[in-house]
Symmetry: C2
Subunit: 493 residues, 2 copies
């Protein structure tokens, strides 16, 4: 059994053997693996129900001012370390939720703490630049070190903003401006266009263009991004939206090797639907936006072949191809960008990012820069502080070879979870690197599992209707995987 | 002449007399006024054309990756101090643009620099919380110290986000949810509502509701906020928008005392138009959004009476009243919130903020909290680091009595600028505190003036078609005002 070959027994992690040793012997390659955080806790420790009395006390106080119904517990970040989060009651949890997939290199990573003490960083903190007016002298260094060193091939322009929704909305705007400029040709804006848009009327405000997204997609919660989103009705109901279309995202069956014909068919049908939307409807599709893995919508995957063909359809019809890597980007899938796994013949037109990168924005092909200034613009245009952190993340990923770590631990997790389908109710194991998910029979059982896991010391989250998603940090190692897997087994026992 | 009585001669500020002494003798109240930054430069110093060769070199490098056409110069923030910004070429400029009205208490303010060294601040920086899931233990302290101490009367709930556009869009969403819930009454969402919204179709996605804003308004650049914006066509053309209406913002004539009848009439007409939109059109107006001073749109003011009547119309028709204080908030008008000057009989329903507060979000009346969780939600829900800075800003405003300073220097500037209309081409002086603007005869003359002022050592910005806007920091004192006024006179000479 892969499980028993690769994974240590439950006894091991509860023993006094240090994590470092465990990680070493537990490695699937049997190489000596150093713990990235030698001083992090060696195991979870739960001392109260979660949320405990200290968390509840703070939540009650906070509830006077803010809605606290979504809060799991209150975090004591000063005490958190590496892959472990400590809460206000002193509970120590192995964290595979990681602030909704937004912590890249561990809590209180020394490189991050050191950055906080650098004069240039403190200067940027105390003097927030309007980057479109008077950027700091070292902004261009951040752009190169943070964004350009990991720019998707051929995409050497970047527009930075403050959050993932803003990243997607500005990418959509870029697509509309590009498409409108192509339609317009060489002529300048007409007076009618310029005056009508001030009243939100056509022709200046186009009523015949759209962004095509997919069912179950999540691209954000602002008006344009929420229009493209379709993961949960409660996010969308009562909020005005544009009448932009949604194509069916292929619903693959697992294990993949047992459902080859079905999976090829649903991918083909989805692509046909996309092509029909683009070629047979009255509205011009300016761009197709897609997540490499539909994350909030249930961790839905498609094959590299599907994405290559999707890009080809876009290219054949002069539709821009936007890849939303807000949740998938920055290493969790084992490559810096998830879409690298597709081996596209040419780069996407835009790639959006946020979350684990700390800085938000999107890469774009230089040809998409608007002809006129001030069309892609706002007050801050991003945050120099978060860009400096993004540069530190890139450096840390390289220094510690974290992509390789993610590939190893991802394979280890996927193999063991697949094995676990034989003895527990989990099913539909799917993943790319350590970006892994599985299903439970229904939403109620999933929710109970999440609560129980937290109470057993593993902070874990769900997505979709009945899915559990694993979003460990890039510093998650084999020893941590063992704890996760053993805790799952204990929970199901 | 007020001018000559109140203001020091050009000679004074070019002398070796320290700023502290100048500020003291120049005070309109003749009280002893301490310089907030004893060690800031005593005057501007321009050594190259702006942008100079060092700025241009960096801009050329940056231009490979980002559009640099909007950049004035590259800033050397480490060398900037107080009210003075230093650029990459060593030019020292008195800054009354302040990163598009976004620097509150001076460059390298010691309180800000000290904050950067605090352990709790560094912990928050290195461990970014998803505030809706596991907020940091001191988040509630920030909420109280930053937001609640200055909450508009009766508004003790706050929702934090990442930028001003996001603040407005979430306020709009709140209005739609509130209005839809009222229409729905006690019943739960229907299955039809929940399924139709996933396809962006009614009834789940309402096509009969709107946000009413005003001509020349600026509320942001994302799809919902840009719909409500109408300041410049180049921001809006080619971008899809909702068909939400715009009312005429009253175009007051100056000096106010010479145009009482006209001004009362245009305000009355505007209010009538608002009432007609609300009561006579098919679409339900969920909220009216308005800036206390239309800033990007040309610094357009209206009387407190106008705003009181506008609120009354909203209340009589169960329409929410949203005040967008993204640019006017945090002290620049002489009160913490600009709308305090209106003496409203009851608070607005929502007040949005960003820019000078460093943190972004909106205040809301507790009754507007959505009944269901996760409807106002996102990954970060604001930034603990920026909230800690906001708390420091509130403290600094109180410690240094900066609102009083703004009132004094604002009056001084307004009086002297009014006087200057007799001898220079400036006209239509209007202001609230130190949030002041004036017009030049046309856009070309305005743009030339802005360029010339920068070359003379004053960093200054425009808005609207032919307006110059003053956006000094709250630490701008009489001595700085003298430099500004003398430089203006020299420019016009």
């Amino acid at each position: 059994m892969i499980h028993s070959i690769l994974r240590q027994s439950t006894r091991r992690y509860t023993s006094k053997v240090p994590t470092r040793f465990l990680a070493t012997v537990a490695s699937p390659t049997q190489e000596a693996v150093k713990a990235f955080f030698p001083d992090e806790p060696s195991r979870p420790k739960v001392v109260t129900t979660i949320p405990g009395p200290a968390s509840k006390k703070i939540m009650a106080r906070l509830n006077q001012y803010q809605d606290t119904r979504s809060i799991f517990f209150v975090a004591d970040f000063a005490k958190s370390k590496g892959n472990y989060i400590v809460d206000a009651d002193g509970n120590t949890l192995l964290d595979v939720f990681a602030q909704i997939a937004s912590i890249p290199v561990g809590y209180n990573n020394p490189a991050f703490l050191a950055l906080s003490k650098e004069p240039a960083f403190q200067t940027a903190l105390a003097n927030r630049a309007a980057l479109g007016v008077s950027p700091n002298i070292d902004w261009v260094d951040s752009v190169e070190k943070a964004f350009m060193t990991v720019a998707p091939e051929g995409m050497d322009n970047v527009f930075t903003v403050m959050c993932g929704s803003c990243a997607n909305e500005n990418a959509f705007k870029t697509a509309f401006m590009y498409k409108a400029a192509k339609k317009r040709g060489d002529r300048d804006f007409s007076l009618q266009e310029l005056s009508s848009c001030m009243k939100n009327e056509s022709p200046g405000t186009p009523d015949d263009m759209s962004i095509l997204s997919f069912n179950q997609a999540f691209h954000g919660r602002l008006f344009g991004s929420l229009t493209a989103t379709a993961s949960k009705a409660i996010h969308k109901v009562d909020i005005p939206a544009f009448d932009w279309p949604k194509a069916t995202f292929p619903q693959l069956k697992y294990p993949l090797q047992d459902h080859v014909e079905h999976n090829q068919r649903v991918e083909k049908e989805s692509l046909q639907e996309v092509e029909d939307f683009i070629t047979k409807t009255n509205k011009t599709v300016a761009a197709v936006v897609i997540e490499p893995i539909q994350s909030e919508g249930g961790d839905n995957h498609a094959s590299p072949d599907f994405f290559r063909k999707l890009q080809a359809i876009c290219q054949n019809n002069d539709v821009l191809f936007i890849v939303d890597e807000v949740q998938t980007g920055v290493g969790a899938t084992g490559t810096f960008w998830a879409h690298e796994a597709w081996n596209l013949p040419s780069p996407p037109d835009m790639v959006t990012f946020s979350k684990k990168f700390q800085a938000a924005g999107f890469y774009l092909s230089p040809r998409l820069r608007p002809t006129q200034a001030y069309r892609l613009y706002n007050t801050w245009m991003g945050d120099p502080v978060r860009a400096m952190q993004a540069a530190a993340i890139v450096q840390e990923i390289e220094n510690k070879d974290l992509l390789n770590n993610v590939q190893n631990v991802g394979k280890y997790l996927q193999d063991n979870l697949t094995e676990m389908t034989k003895t527990t109710p989990i099913e539909n194991i799917r993943g790319q690197g350590a970006f892994i998910a599985f299903d439970l029979p229904d939403g109620a059982k999933r929710d109970a599992f999440l609560m129980d896991m937290r109470q057993r010391g593993v902070n874990i989250g769900g997505c979709g209707d009945r899915t559990v998603r694993l979003r460990p940090m890039l510093t998650f190692q084999i020893g941590h995987a063992d704890i996760l897997l053993d805790t799952m087994e204990a929970s199901f026992a």
